[in-house]
Structures are given as C-alpha cells and as structure tokens.
C-alpha cells in the first residue's frame, strides 16, 4: 500500500465505506473516481458553479472544494441517494420531472441537492428564500423558471399535506 495514503470512514447514501486515499483527493474525486458515484458533476473547478453540490451532515456543500479527508466520519448524500432503491423518485425529483425543470441535466444533480437541503432546513421557504438558497447553482439551459416552480410546488404540496 502507498504509504502516503490515509484511511477514512465515510457513510455515503447510507452505506459505510472505508477507503484509502491520497490526502489531496477532493470529495468530488472520492465520489466520482473511487466510489463510482458519477451523478455528481464537475463543471468549473473553482468553487463557482454548484454542479458538484452534495449534502454533508445535512448541509449542501460543493464537493470540488472540500477535501475527502474532511468528511472522515461524516454522512454524505449524493443525487444517487435521493430516490429509493426500488426506483421510487423523491417528491422533489417527481416535481422536477413534472415541471420539466431540467434540460441538459448536467447541473440538475447539484440543483437537486441544494434544494433538498433547503427543503429539509426550511419548512416554508418564501420565494426570496428559495432564490437566495439557489444562488450557488448555475444553469445555462433552463433559465431557472421551471426549476423554481418545481421547488415551490413541493412547498405548496407540503403545506396542503400538513393541513
């Protein structure tokens, strides 16, 4: 074994992993190259586009700008962890599908993770909350409108459900 490697333990989408990595590996590289979870995308490499957003301990973070070593002992959720294993989409994924909230789909995993984290944190986000919390996710295809509508639809459904 390469002596420069270090071992970390991380739970990804509920499954525990023990991996031996070089310290310079980013969380994004860990997910894509080591664990084969290629749903998380890389589009800028300088912490500006949000395509690589994943959830670490309930918080949305950009996987390109977090070292894999820093998630040792933490729980990571990626886009692959949103739907159930038997093929049922999450409520948010359903809403994205219904509202045509994506086009090329390259930034969609990042958007889904940001909005999933937001909807877990905020029970009843306002339009402003939603827009501000989605500032970190760049999109070139959709013009954002249908994607924001999908999120609002989930909020609306939740409100009705709680009545």
């Amino acid at each position: 074994m390469d002596s420069s490697k270090k071992t970390i333990n991380v739970k990804v989408n509920g499954e525990p992993y023990e991996v031996s990595i070089k310290p310079k590996m980013t969380l994004l590289q860990l997910l894509r190259n080591e664990l084969g979870l290629t749903g998380t995308k890389q589009a800028c490499m300088d912490n500006s586009c949000g395509a690589c957003t994943v959830i670490v301990n309930k918080m949305a973070v950009k996987a390109c700008s977090v070292l894999a070593m820093q998630v040792n002992g933490k729980e990571v959720t990626t886009v692959e962890g949103l739907a159930s294993k038997d093929g049922k989409l999450s409520i948010l994924q359903e809403a994205f599908l219904e509202h045509s909230a994506f086009q090329c789909g390259f930034c969609s995993p990042g958007k889904l993770m940001s909005s999933t984290a937001m909807l877990e944190e905020l029970e009843n986000p306002t339009e402003e909350d939603i827009r501000r919390d989605m500032e970190g996710n760049l999109c070139r295809c959709t013009g954002y409108v249908q994607y924001l509508e999908a999120i609002k639809e989930v909020v609306r459904q939740r409100k009705e459900g709680s009545k």
Partner: protein, 290 residues
C-alpha cells in the same frame, strides 16, 4: 494538485504545536473554500496541511451584555447568518453574510478562514471593522489581541505569523443610538462585488447630530479601507443631505481602486460616492430609531 501531508488537529493545542513544527512548509486548512482552488491551480503547493476545521472549541457564538459578542474563528458563515442572537443584536452581520459567496460556501467556509485569506473583495471584514471587531491570535507561545482593522497589510496578506492561528473574533456590545449598514454593488445579484461598504453611524440621542461614524469599504484598495476623513466630516455635525453627499465624495477620494474586468477604477470611485451616501443615510435613519 501536488501531494501533501495531512494532519487533522484534534485540539487547538495540538494545532498550535503542529503549526509551530511545520510553519515553514505548512498551511492551515479551515473550510478551504479559497485554499483548495489555489492548491488545484498549483498556485501554492505546501508540503503539508494542518486541518483545523474539526475543532469544536473554535466553533461558537457567545454573547455577554458587558463584554459583547465572541465568534469562534471556525464558525461557518451560515451559522452567523442564521444565528438568532446575531440577527437580533448584530443584524448587519447576518445581512452581510447573505451576500457572501453561495449557500454551499457559507455552509462549509469559516469566518476565520475568510479573514485570513484576506481577499480585498471579502465582505465580512468591513462589517466587522465597522462594528469595532478585535481578533484573538493564538500560538504555542501564547496569544494576542489585535484590532481587526490592523490585521490586514496587503492583498491576501495579514500580520498573522506563520505559527499563529486566528482563534476568535470579538465585538463590543451594540452601542446605543448606533446603526451599522451594509451595502454592496455588483453587476449580477450574486456577482463579484464592484464595491461594498459598511457604515456605522452613532447619533446624539434624540437629535440629528452625528456623534461618531465609521466607513469601511472593500474592493477599493489592497485591504479593507477605512475612509477616516469622510467619517471625520460627519462627526459632531447635523447630518444633512448635502453633508452626506460631501462625505461620500471625500470617501471616494480616499480610495485607490484598480481597473479590472468588472469595472474601471474611475467607475468604482463613482459607485463609492453613491453607495456610501446611501449607506450613511440608511444607517442614520436607523440610528435615530435605535
């Protein structure tokens, strides 16, 4: 990215001893929200990183009526933004934090890391300086407290010694009849700030007279810039629209911005005039009510 050795400190004490050991070749890693980009671009290639992000003892927000607010250096931007305590007592910090980068960056990036990276377009420093912040620097040899306005020396450069760690930020209790206002100017809403400013105004109770003022700006100089002459013009005077406009002009003359892809130096000065004017007015109105 070049290979490096990695140490994760489990206590502040261990962190101090690690960096005193590796101070010549190591870098301290907190949230890494700008550091990792620099590493990836191979602009810096330290042989070891000392990761302090996990230090719980530097992740806190505490308030005491007498001594004021203490924020641990490893408190995330998001925690500051969302803290009910800060929203109530130092609302400008919460408002300012909403404009720092993106939610993802605020979730992982720390206030201490932000200050130590000393990017002159950073937002937190001007607001904290306007609020009268001090910082605590610790090393294996001991600790020292410094006014935040004396912390920065040049682009991306501070007075921090290679074996020191920024441990906490201290703010005095909110002053009476005082308001601090943050204002930014960027082409797109969440874009690179062309100018941003934080203005503190204290009024004589029940009057229109300015007792004290502080105007701090980012993106117009190599460091967060305090425009002292402009603030001086306001002190002891009744704040009229004309005076405010004159002070804003003075503030612009005190800046030394550069031209870049986002704006020319001349335009930045024009924006300083507008932004400072608007911020003073707003802070003034609020201070009268405070």
């Amino acid at each position: 990215m070049k290979d490096f050795e990695y140490f994760s400190a489990s206590s502040l004490q261990e962190a101090c001893s690690l960096i005193s050991q590796y101070k010549d070749v190591g870098k301290v890693l907190a949230g890494g929200q700008s550091l990792i980009t620099l590493l990836r671009q191979k602009l810096i290639s330290p042989t070891c990183l000392i990761d302090i992000k996990g230090l719980k003892e530097l992740d806190f927000i505490e308030f005491d009526k007498k001594s004021g607010l203490r924020i641990g250096a490893l408190t995330t931007h998001r925690a500051i933004e969302k803290s009910p305590l800060i929203q109530e007592k130092y609302n400008v910090l919460s408002e300012m934090e909403k404009s720092v980068a993106s939610v993802q960056t605020r979730n992982w990036g720390t206030i201490g890391g932000n200050l130590c990276s000393a990017d002159p377009i950073g937002d937190p420093a001007p607001s904290l300086i306007a609020l009268g912040a001090k910082i605590k620097l610790v090393s294996a040899k001991g600790e020292r407290a410094v006014a935040l306005e004396e912390f920065f020396t040049d682009y991306f450069t501070t007075i921090i010694e290679p074996d020191e760690i920024l441990a906490e930020i201290q703010l005095p209790p909110p002053a009476a009849n005082t308001a601090v206002e943050y204002m930014k100017f960027a082409t797109i809403e969440a874009g690179i700030k062309i100018v941003s400013t934080s203005v503190a105004v204290t009024v004589e109770a029940g009057s229109d007279v300015c007792k004290d003022a502080k105007i701090v700006m980012s993106a117009v100089a190599p460091i967060p810039l305090i425009t002292k002459k402009a603030a001086e013009m306001l002190k002891g005077k009744k704040l009229t629209d004309d005076l405010i406009e004159e002070a804003a002009k003075m503030a612009a003359s005190e800046t030394d911005p550069t031209t870049d892809v986002h704006a020319s130096a001349e335009y930045r000065k024009e924006i300083v005039k507008v932004l400072v004017k608007r911020a003073i007015k707003k802070a003034f109105e609020k201070a009268k009510k405070a």
